[in-house]
Symmetry: C2
Subunit: 361 residues, 2 copies
């Protein structure tokens, strides 16, 4: 990758580097020849102050390049008009779509949204949560990386609104918005069984992640219901990461098996993983769905447009987000809600040769 770096060396004049302390409200007051309270009023209740003085103050503000110190402001005021979100993976369209839903809803009340990604790491999740809390956000929406959510509950205990995202709340006092992942896993595998598959590989993430565990449970249940023994019929492969590359690694493991011993279908825990699987199968010349059928999860934007359009379990991302945002600000005394959406299977070519039967776009 060519990369031209031209350091502009017009060494900044000494003056520009002067250590200029950020102007405070006191400086402004002094410059405008008024009291600090007046400046504060100009900032917060401009009508309380005479147009003439206001102008002088505003001039001083512009002159000194004043920006209100949020920490001080908040120290006084208590809390901030922003909310923090921690999702599992910022590069997963599923989560960014949810984030968009949250933002849409929050915008209405002119709240601001800060997002962080934990990459399924508990420590990082804790750090961000703490950061948000220390800085006094109004609320946090978090999609927990593991079952250990004591730290999340603690945040709520200390008085910050909390909504669990993509995970049903284990305790009644905490609101949550989730999609039934057991149902989703079941949908996917029921469909594969209906297509005649008797052994299915599940490319899954670690079971510390609830979504992964639940989707597996649903998959296994579908097997059992169909009279198949999950122990035999469901071959779980744990991918190194929930990404296309992870999917590639997973499917390679499968392809290493002798063709006879190999499941005829793959259920991927998300569409990113499925993308890697499809990519690898195509490169290796394995026909989808004839030799191996594939089903993904999330129904991301591009799922329908892939070389082999990908069957996928769809989740109502936007609603997840808007609903989560809603729950954050329920009136003080109201009981927290546990919202559970139902997923939907979208059948496309990757899992069926016959003309699409149902639920297709």
């Amino acid at each position: 990758m060519a990369d031209s770096t031209k350091a502009s060396n017009a060494a900044s004049p000494a003056s520009a580097r002067t250590v200029r302390r950020r102007a405070s409200i006191t400086d402004v007051a002094k410059a405008a020849g008024v009291a600090v309270g007046t400046v504060s009023n100009v900032l917060n209740k401009p009508d309380r102050v005479l147009p003439a003085t206001r102008e002088r103050v505003e001039a001083a503000i512009a002159e000194l390049n004043f920006v209100r110190n949020g920490s001080a402001r908040q120290l006084r005021a208590g809390t901030l008009t922003s909310v923090g979100v921690v999702v599992l993976d910022l590069s997963n369209p599923f989560f960014t779509d949810v984030a968009r839903g949250i933002q849409d809803r929050l915008e209405r009340d002119s709240f601001t949204l800060m997002v962080a990604g934990s990459d399924e790491d508990l420590d990082r999740e804790r750090r961000y949560l703490r950061l948000y809390e220390e800085h006094g956000v109004q609320g946090v929406i978090v999609s927990p990386a593991t079952d250990d959510i004591d730290h999340v509950l603690a945040v709520r205990e200390r008085g910050t609104a909390v909504v669990l995202l993509d995970r049903p709340s284990p305790v009644p006092e905490v609101a949550s918005v989730a999609v039934d992942d057991v149902a989703g896993g079941r949908l996917a595998v029921e469909h594969l069984i209906a297509q005649g598959h008797e052994r299915v590989a599940l490319l899954n993430g670690p079971h510390t992640i609830r979504q992964c565990r639940d989707r597996r449970e649903g998959a296994a249940a579908a097997m059992t219901d169909a009279g198949l023994d999950p122990e035999v019929a469901l071959e779980e492969i744990t991918v190194p990461s929930l990404t296309p590359d992870g999917g590639e690694a997973g499917i390679r493991e499968l392809l290493a098996l002798p063709a006879a011993a190999r499941p005829s279908a793959v259920f991927c825990v998300n569409d990113l993983v499925a993308l890697g699987v499809l990519r690898t199968l195509r490169r290796d010349g394995v026909a989808v769905p004839e030799e191996i059928a594939v089903v993904g999860y999330d129904d991301v934007t591009f799922a329908a447009e892939l070389a082999t359009p990908l069957s996928s379990v769809r989740q109502p991302t936007l609603e997840l987000g808007t609903r989560a945002a809603d729950l954050l600000f329920r009136p003080e005394g109201s009981a927290p809600e546990q919202v559970v959406f139902s997923p939907e299977l979208v059948i496309r070519e990757s899992s069926t040769t016959s003309p699409l039967e149902a639920g297709s776009p």
Copy 2:
């Protein structure tokens, strides 16, 4: 979308709703029978304090569920170990990949990253920037929505480190990391011309966005170089949004033209738009690339795996991010840098029927 809402109505016992003020350091001090200064030391320089007292303090902290108030802390300490990022669009994989690059790099110094999306809206950009600044982040990385970046420069003026993302800095004092978009636009259109196309439609965003303007400029330059008149040969269509739906709207406008009057190739300002174009063309039964060739921009993960693999201009996303993070923390006196990466064209089927010639995946 079925949606079962079970409000858990075990109306929380009054006690649980008690308005319990968050415990402060003073409360802890009181509970532990020490001075506030000592508590502070336990928090910040634990070795300065006798193990015995430390334990007592720690017990009190646990007991009271104490969380340090970040605002107060920061008010005293000055600045925070976090940086803020504002990107144009959180749902664009290009930007989330860049964000990941930033986060990777920042992690090393255990900084935390907060991300916000402006959706190409100047006001929103301003709001987030101000929020970050007011809360004293160490630095901000912004991909500006418009040419008006006075507010960004002002942030720097006031002493917060600033790096412009995906946009060369117009002033030498501000660091920037960008990719040459003129070159990118040129690459795309040169390629289309080489494929024999004499009229190209450009599905573009508003020219207030620099990336859109530059890519167009490159496209036009390629035309001129080839002896074509851009006025005639380059048909620009402004899409309502830089998304698949925007792409659909744009291409429909094109399809409405009589086939003879219609350009034989489409250059999309990003891959999301291109996705919508491909989707629409497929639904309408228009052959790609035979009837209409398509080139996108960004080379997102799924570009290679689409029904018609998408030719696209690739940008070094991760490096963009890591480099931006690097620039944020150059030593005090060092001259700001303007980093410009070069894009690369990845040719796939969507723009050529002949076997791939170069730069393919």
